[in-house]
Structures are given as structure tokens and as C-alpha cells.
């Protein structure tokens, strides 16, 4: 039997006055690299990073499932409320995980909603972090469809969330990885993807002005964006970077909205040099 070098654990986390049962996976040793999944998905998106010995030789890679996602539970009483992610709750969650796992100045890498919140971490927590990597980072996204359909009794949530994710994958990505990425979306709980988009789409998550205060000397910021993403487009990332002195942008050819999950070999080709640079310079 050949086992992957990934181990999974549950932990209890008190955050915003509620107790959460949180699941995370980790592999490797060295500099902590905390990975944030996209809206409506879970930490399995980072399976290839966790399995990459070139990364895990020098980095302790950790991917947690946000509450309500993957194998993490929603808090007790979830049935009485709508899940709604905010920039404040998401930022507090990440820093709670950093403290609970006693991660010393970790690198934080997030994709999509994670790519957005990385910008907020750069604004509010730069001194506590070694470096930040935003995948598919945009400072703002105007609503272009009604997310109410993602949580509608007459539309199968798994099917519609999967269909949304399907289109955001690059048509050049391998079919197996593309459909695995879609599958994770199909397994989300009702209203969870929509609740994440509450943060991502619209005014609450708009950091276009605030990002001007980011000091990349305190904490280097790398922005990597796939060219096939129409949600956080290369143009959106470049617009954000134009407001942040020292932000380092890479447009990833042939990749879509889920680079780490939809095409691991191509993504790792972009990620490894960034991690090398972080290791040598910070």
C-alpha cells in the first residue's frame, strides 16, 4: 500500500465566540505555508502542493477547510441562520488558525476569495506574516450573475455550483483534474458557495482603496493569476497591483481560476520559484 505523505487532523477552534470543529491537512516541514481554498470548495484543492516533495522539503504545507466547508463542521445552531462570510470574519478565521496551530510568521497563500483576503492580510497583519501569495487576486468584483440561484430549492445546488466552477477552469487543463475540481464544488452544503460570495461579490469585500496602504517591504506580496479566469481576470490583478508598490505579478499561461487544483504540474512550475525566492529573501 502506497500512502500519500499527507496527514489530516481535526481541531477545536473558538472563533467569533463560537466553537468550531475544524479539519486540516498537512505535509512537509520547515516554513509554514498556510493555504486558503476558493469559495464553495475545500482544502483538497491543494492536494498536489501537499504531495510535492520539492515544496514540502522546505515548507510545512497546511490546508484547512473553512467552517461549513469540506470536513469542517458548521457551528452548532447552523440550521437557524444563513451562512454569510465577511472580510472581518474571514480575516479573523485565518489569524485564529495561525494562532491555534502556533504557526510562526507563516506564508499565507489563498485563491479567489483567498486571493482577496490575502490583500486584507497584507493591510492588517503584514508584521505577523513572512510573505503572501494571492492566486486569482482581484480587489473587487462587480456582480455579473445572481448568486441566489446557487441556493434555490428548485435548482440542485451541487449541480449548479459545479457548473459555475466548470466554466472557470481553463479549457486547456487536463480533464481529470478539471472534473475533480468540479466535484469538490458539487459536494458543498446548501448556501455555502453563495455565503462565500457574499464577501467576494459586491461592496463588503471591496478593498480597492485600502490596498494602497500595503507595505510590501514588511511582507512581500506575490500575485499569480491564470489567463483563463473571467472572474478575477489578469486585468483585475494588474489593476490591484498598480495600487500596491512592490507587488510582484505573474500571469500564468493556460491556467484558469483554480490553478493549484485544475492543472497541478503547470501551477507548481510557477509556484516553486516563488517559494524559493521567499525562502532565500525572507
Amino acid at each position: 500500500m502506497k500512502l500519500e505523505p499527507i496527514s489530516g487532523h481535526y481541531t477545536r477552534l473558538v472563533f467569533e465566540n463560537k466553537e468550531h470543529r475544524l479539519y486540516f491537512e498537512e505535509a512537509g516541514q520547515g516554513i509554514p505555508l498556510l493555504c486558503l481554498h476558493t469559495a464553495g470548495s475545500d482544502g483538497r484543492q491543494y492536494r498536489a502542493v501537499l504531495n510535492d516533495t520539492e515544496v514540502t522539503r522546505n515548507f510545512r504545507v497546511i490546508a484547512f477547510d473553512m467552517p461549513w466547508h469540506g470536513k469542517s463542521s458548521p457551528p452548532a445552531g447552523w440550521q437557524k441562520e444563513d451562512y454569510r462570510l465577511t472580510i472581518e470574519s474571514y480575516t479573523a478565521l485565518i489569524m485564529s488558525v495561525v494562532r491555534a496551530l502556533e504557526l510562526e510568521r507563516p506564508v499565507v497563500m489563498g485563491c479567489s476569495i483567498g486571493g482577496r483576503v490575502v490583500l486584507n492580510l497584507a493591510i492588517e497583519h503584514a508584521r505577523e506574516l513572512r510573505a503572501l501569495i494571492g492566486l486569482q487576486s482581484a480587489a473587487y468584483l462587480e456582480r455579473y450573475y445572481d448568486a441566489g440561484w446557487l441556493d434555490h430549492p428548485e435548482v440542485h445546488g451541487g449541480r449548479v455550483c459545479g457548473a459555475l466552477a466548470y466554466g472557470l477552469v481553463s479549457p486547456l487543463s487536463p480533464a481529470a483534474e478539471r472534473w475533480e475540481t468540479v466535484w469538490h464544488y458539487m459536494q458543498g452544503g446548501p448556501g455555502v458557495f453563495r455565503g462565500d460570495l457574499h464577501f467576494y461579490q459586491g461592496a463588503g469585500g471591496d478593498v480597492r482603496e485600502k490596498i494602497r496602504s500595503i507595505d510590501t517591504k514588511l511582507c512581500p506580496l506575490y500575485l499569480l493569476t491564470g489567463e483563463y479566469d473571467y472572474s478575477a481576470t489578469p486585468r483585475d490583478t494588474e489593476a490591484a497591483a498598480a495600487r500596491i508598490r512592490g507587488a510582484r505579478v505573474t500571469i500564468m499561461k493556460g491556467l484558469g481560476h483554480f490553478p493549484m487544483s485544475e492543472n497541478p504540474p503547470a501551477f507548481l512550475g510557477y509556484l516553486r520559484p516563488v517559494l524559493d525566492e521567499i525562502r532565500k529573501e525572507t
Binding site: Y145, W149, H152, Y166, G167, Y230
Partner: protein, 118 residues
């Protein structure tokens, strides 16, 4: 190319399965040309070419001829590769009863992209 959709879809079980249970008539427009597609349990049972007088449909998907041509390139260029990519850029208009469209969104995306394999 739209005329070939019944053949491209109905012979591909990997597409038909996503339309299981779908029984709708929808309008597909390419520039000035209009088509009505009758879907029965995931197969395109009938394709009619307009112009139409007083015909009902459940939902309509309209885009320019150029937009569909880019969508059907293999591989399609970034920003033209998905129905919702076209929606984000304002290159497609979707109207009518959106419930069946969203319920069968995966099927419709696969149907609309089927010309890529032609």
C-alpha cells in the same frame, strides 16, 4: 454550426446524461439567426430555424455570430470559453425563465460548447 447540435449532442452520452429529465424548448440566437431547440430527456429532439411567428420558448440565449465563433474555437481564447465568461463581458444575453436554465446549466454549457469537437 448550430444546425449540427442535434447530431453532436445526441451521439454523446457524456453530454446527454447531464440533461436527463430536461424537457424544454429554448431559443438560441446567433446574430440575426434564430433557432428553437426542443430538448426531450437530454436529447435535442427537434431543431427549427427561424424566423418565427408567435412561438413560445422557456428561455433564450442570444449572442453575436462572432461571439459564438470564438466560443467554438478549439481551444477558445481566454474570455470566450464559457457561457458565463460571455455573460461577464456582456457578449451574451440570457432571458426568460431562468430556473430550468440554472437547473440544467452544466448540460447547457456542454451543449453550447459541443461544436468545438466538430
Amino acid at each position: 454550426m448550430i444546425e449540427r447540435l442535434p447530431e453532436l449532442v445526441n451521439t454523446d452520452p457524456a453530454i446527454v446524461r447531464w440533461g436527463r429529465g430536461m424537457n424544454e424548448v429554448f431559443l438560441l440566437q446567433s446574430g440575426e439567426e434564430q433557432f428553437l431547440l426542443t430538448v426531450r430527456d437530454g436529447k435535442i429532439e427537434k431543431l427549427e430555424k427561424g424566423p418565427f411567428v408567435m412561438r413560445s420558448w422557456t428561455f433564450a440565449i442570444r449572442a453575436s455570430k462572432e461571439a459564438w465563433e470564438k466560443h467554438w474555437q478549439s481551444p477558445p481564447p481566454p474570455g470566450w470559453h464559457d457561457l458565463f465568461a460571455l455573460l461577464r463581458t456582456g457578449n451574451v444575453v440570457i432571458e426568460g425563465d431562468l430556473q430550468p436554465l440554472m437547473a440544467y446549466l452544466m448540460y447547457l454549457k456542454l451543449v453550447l460548447a459541443a461544436p468545438r469537437k466538430a
